[in-house]
């Protein structure tokens, strides 16, 4: 790996060689190829883990109510696939809603915070307060204020995803190349133009990174919310499994969550490829 370590800040050049060569090494790798290559290792790792797990459970004769074997989990999933699919879908919608609302709100606040350091310093502790407030403390209020159904769950998921998005969006909105900013000012660009054409695109890589972090959070948020208001989604499956010592269903629910998380992360990665092909990170990924 180190042998071909790209040279640090290689000065660029305009010789014919360069104009013909330079672009090639810089162009991002062919998507489909890289996708395949990037999918193999995790699948392998997963397989290994599952086999090891199954073997251990059987060897050590771990009782089902304690930890189920992968086969048990699969069996449960196979018995009532519809139930898990429906629950997964419910939670997914809530999580996505939460992601949208939370990320949106966080970005809006970030725009304010990015505008001035004092404002950032002022709002950060409050954001931290939001972050440490346990969901149980506020969930009932949400239900009281927004009734039962999806609304409070979406808002709880939003609450949980708010913080990471805020932090990244502030950084992103600040990460504007000063040279580009000079050009905008020399062309007398309006604040709105600067925001729309410069700051927002520049912040995208950070926003996408935050989205990736937020995906599992939003799912957890939806599940916790489902416990709080005790109906629907993967959260309810977990609750029922828990109160009836049905560990297999419990783990099956976790598997559903994991699948959703991986799927969402993958989707975001795809968006990233299209949207951020211009960004350095496109190279390393």
């Amino acid at each position: 790996m180190t042998a071909e370590e790209p040279q640090s800040a290689r000065r660029e050049h305009v010789t014919p060689t360069a104009t013909s060569n330079a672009p090639t090494p810089r162009a991002p790798a062919r998507p489909e190829a890289s996708t395949l290559r990037s999918l193999l290792p995790p699948l392998l790792a997963l397989a290994v883990t599952l086999v090891a797990w199954e073997a251990y459970i059987r060897a050590a004769e771990v009782p089902l109510y304690l930890v189920p074997a992968p086969s048990d989990v699969v069996a449960v999933l196979a018995r009532t696939p519809g139930r898990f699919a429906a629950a997964g879908f419910t939670s997914l919608i809530e999580a996505l809603g939460g992601l949208a609302v939370g990320a949106g709100a966080a970005f809006a606040v970030a725009v304010v915070m990015a505008h001035s350091r004092p404002l950032e310093r002022a709002l950060y502790p409050l954001a931290l307060l939001v972050k440490v407030t346990p969901v149980v403390a506020v969930a009932p209020l949400f239900i009281i204020w927004f009734g039962f159904g999806a609304a409070p769950k979406v808002l709880i998921a939003a609450l949980i995803t708010f913080f990471p998005m805020l932090v990244n969006a502030v950084t992103g909105l600040r990460s504007v190349p000063p040279a580009a900013l000079d050009v905008f000012r020399a062309l007398d660009a309006s604040p709105w133009q600067t925001f729309r054409l410069l700051r927002v695109p520049a912040s995208l890589p950070y926003v996408v990174a935050a989205l990736k972090i937020s995906v599992p959070l939003s799912l957890i948020g939806a599940v916790v919310a489902e416990w709080m208001s005790g109906d629907g989604g993967v959260g309810q499956i977990i609750l029922i499994a828990n109160s009836s010592l049905d560990t297999a269903s419990l783990f099956a629910a976790v598997v559903v969550l994991a699948v959703l998380a991986v799927a969402l992360t993958g989707a975001i990665a795809l968006v990233e490829r299209r949207l951020l092909s211009w960004h350095e990170s496109a190279e390393v990924q």
Partner: protein
């Protein structure tokens, strides 16, 4: 005559103490089943029975059962229904004492809502916790010729504020303490105890691992004797019982704990001695659970309840030997 802490038993001291873990099936509060253990610990009854007991609590999910099955704990608590269902699942658990002769799950409605009897549930929104429609609700409705189709079932969490704020008409409660908390908010309520409407329910039991019950009845006997003495003391001196509880639940509202204890003591009353149960009670519960599809598996012999051990602790007059 029941011994008290004042006069320690001579037989207790010489024996080496046995380590026992009791995990209460919920957070610390003045359930009689918990208080009995708190006081047994406090007053040295466990020691007198030759036990060194560690008291733990669980979050009311199922970890206390897992710990019992993993033999990390020898005794825990569960409702009669839970005991029956797990037993029917084929898990090695037996109930060795039944504290609540009637269940502690009930319903409340605002006094001004005009809901006086289960018949008035018709067309109202009825909250259910953790997404399961309890058999006792179905039974209570059936008693007045209703089904869950006739009410609007609404999943609610574990926070009565949603009821106080009127998000739901009828709210499921633990009769022992939640009505108190709700009244504290200045909300006048009517409570519904399924048992009052002829529904067979059972309250908290002491649950033990089947192996322990089979192989080590003396341990069970010792534990029961100590806790029964604790329960008696709680009945005689409820304030001490609440004080003992607050040692485990620092910051809890004493009045609410006292309310809970009194409710449990009332529910535990029984001529032939606290903690005992008849086969009929269990059969009735089983019938209800089966009728409403909660219990689907056959219940093998000898049944979830082991009554002999606790029975052996009482004399004919229902006094503790």
């Amino acid at each position: 005559a029941p011994r008290t802490a004042a006069e320690p038993t001579p037989t207790a001291t010489p024996r080496p103490l046995r380590d026992v873990t009791f995990i209460a099936g919920f957070r610390a509060q003045a359930n009689l089943a918990f208080v009995a253990a708190y006081l047994a610990q406090e007053c040295g009854y466990f020691a007198e029975e030759g036990l060194r007991v560690t008291i733990r609590h669980s979050a009311g999910q199922d970890e206390h059962l897992k710990l019992l099955l993993a033999k990390e704990a020898q005794f825990t608590t569960a409702t009669g229904a839970q005991a029956l269902l797990r037993y029917a699942d084929g898990l090695p658990v037996r109930a060795v004492a039944l504290w609540g002769q009637r269940g502690d799950q009930g319903y409340v409605a605002r006094a001004d809502s005009g809901i006086r009897t289960p018949a008035d549930f018709k067309g109202r929104s009825v909250g259910i916790k953790s997404g399961i429609v309890p058999a006792e609700l179905r039974a209570m409705l059936a008693g007045v010729g209703l089904t869950t189709e006739d009410v609007r079932l609404q999943g609610v969490g574990f926070d009565p504020r949603v009821f106080v704020q009127g998000a739901v008409d009828i709210y499921p409660v633990f009769l022992g303490n939640e009505p108190f908390a709700i009244r504290k908010t200045g909300t006048a309520i009517t409570t519904f105890d399924p048992a009052d409407f002829g529904v067979a329910t059972l309250g908290l039991t002491y649950l033990a691992h089947a192996d322990v019950v089979r192989d080590d009845p003396t341990l069970v006997r010792a534990f029961l004797r100590a806790t029964l003495r604790g329960a008696q003391l709680a009945a005689e001196r409820p304030d001490e019982a609440v004080a003992a509880t607050l040692k485990y639940a620092d910051g809890a509202d004493p009045a609410q704990q006292r309310y809970l204890l009194d409710a449990d003591l009332a529910a535990a009353k029984r001529a032939d001695g606290m903690g005992r149960a008849s086969a009929d009670q269990w059969r009735a519960l089983q019938a209800t659970l089966e009728r409403y599809g909660v219990l689907t598996k056959p219940v093998p012999a000898p049944g979830p309840f082991e009554g002999a051990i606790i029975g052996g602790l009482y004399d004919a007059q229902g006094r503790l030997r």
